[in-house]
Amino acid sequence: MQAAKGKKYHGLKVLFEKEVADFINSKRMLLLILFMIIITISGLYAALSGISDSVEENASFIFLKLFTVSANSIPSYNTFLALLGPFIGLIMGFDAINNERSEGTLNRLVSQPVYRDNIIIGKFLAGCFIIVIMIFASGILIGAVGFLQIGIPPEAEELGRLFVYLCFAIIYIAFWLALSILFSTVCRHAATSALATIAVWLFSAIFVSLLAGIIADAIYPLDNYEGMFNQLNNYNCELNLNRLSPYYLFSEAASTILSPSIRSINAVTVTQLSGALSGYLSLGQSLLLVWPHLTALCALMLIMFAISYVFFMRQEIRAN
């Protein structure tokens, strides 16, 4: 039993190392690094040019502002990551299975003395590993360069929030990795799976918010007198529909984590604001606010992976 277990993990380890090595040696990696550098530099540029204005308004949690401040129509690092982060997962996963299959290497892989599921698990874990390295490298880089520029050392609370934020980003991108692996398992051609993933990405980033507005207006019209009473319902409906999109889910969670002054992610009524003092939440309280988001993102990622796993295990692998 012990030997079998050891062997199982040994096989996984070998596959994991092979996948990581393959990826790092590929040209795709260069593309990915270039992509990350662009995100990092533009995010940093936006933060450093906009931070002095932002500090004039409110001088607390300056370190976190490096990730949220935008300037001169250049979006912040946070916005960039939410919008373009899916691409990282997509690039790594869109041809994970069907490329091996079309090149005929899958047959050879399966004939090795490794469990078949280790192949897909190894690919997913290798992708996650690369994501962790990328995200932490870019996040720490921004923190370091920002610290050099603004000269104010971050507090422990800010570092904690940054760490939580980067973990969120990793889970978010890992979800897109799992999704693209799923499409690469389902679709025979790499192009199809890539297009499918891009379609989902475009849908969740752009069309969900449009559709949510349309549907909410249809259910709770804002015209006439009726509209006055529907306002809250309309807003809540639109919000909940938006939250179906992982993009929106991550954006909301990220801005809550990075802005301690956000006290609620839902619609706030005047009643709730009576007697409220403007203050900051602790990291724990902010985390509790977006805990459902974390749960949903984790669950989505795991479910996507589970589905692709099931598909992969049930597939016939033939030489063609």
Partner: protein, 399 residues
Amino acid sequence: MYKKIYVTTNLKRLFLILGTVAAVLFIFFINTFSVKAAEGLTLYTDSSGINTTAGESLSFNLYVSNTLQNESDVNLSIESMPEGFTGFFKRDSYEVNRVHASQRSENAIASFQITVPKETPEGQYEIILKASTDEGQEDTLPITLNISELESGESNFTVEYPRQEGVSGTSFTYSTTIVNNTLTDQTYSFSYDAPSGWQVAFKSSSDSTQVSSIDIESGNSQGITITVTPPEKVEAGEYEIKCSAVSAKETMQTALNVKILGTYDLELSTSDGRLSLDANANKESSVTLRLTNSGNIDLENINLTSNAPTGWEVTFNESTIDTLEAGATKEIKATIKPDSDALTGDYVTYINADTSDQSASVQFRITVKTQTVWGIVAVLIIIGVLTGLWYITRKYGRR
């Protein structure tokens, strides 16, 4: 005024008598070639019998008539004088014992100044002055002083405003004056009789030094400032402080009256002084309030009210307190229940204690926290998903 007139009439009468005597003597001299005149030197004064009181200083002019020589120097001396009396001859501004006298002159050759001691008993005293010339002529002048004894007065200890009022926490200042009417210098030492906790300080009115006794010369007066400081927690009412100045001979008392007016003061705080607390939405949190009557009057009918955000409930285990005695403290438990929709973060809630006279308010910063239960539920969901994944691995994994 009366006395002056009296003295004047007296003097007139004296002059009249003297005039008569002089006239008689003159007739006598004319008729008989007087023997007395042969002696030559006469010392006389305007008034040789004087009524006065002890302690006075007198001065009277002396005249000399010399029938023998036109001019001569005259020695002046005191033949006899009662013990304790002091006296000397004076001309212009000098003390003298020898003066020049001319026959023609009707001016005073000198004046004699005498000081009667204060302790001199009543009675008749005689001073004999003597004038002599080098040629051996001499004359004596007896002066009779009818001295009445000086009344030894009593010292005075008076207060300018003996009745003062004020709220607790103020100190009261009384201006007093001690007058030494006795015949000797006195040392007055001060003492007071005040309720316990009261402080009384004696100071010279010209100096800020606190004194316990003071020297006052006979006949002088001295201002004394007495500062009375009541204890901090003094009850409203009237108080009397007896101050005494005691000298060797006398004991003088004066009463200072203080009326302490009532003050209302109500303090509201918590038992541990903290004005912030954590609460969960729709769950009760309690805080122990501490209500202190720091005035000096009992407070009645204290109502506790709250000013909380909409939808919040604040209850007190005792919302009305009938009586809170002066200086007393009462603990009240307040239960605060945030609205079920309350946002995570800080809210402000005021709790007020009101009476008809006074009110106190305390401001609480209440931090509403999300309950961790939901976090645990979410973790359970993730664990469920992971378990499902593990199950799938088991089911399909080993092929």
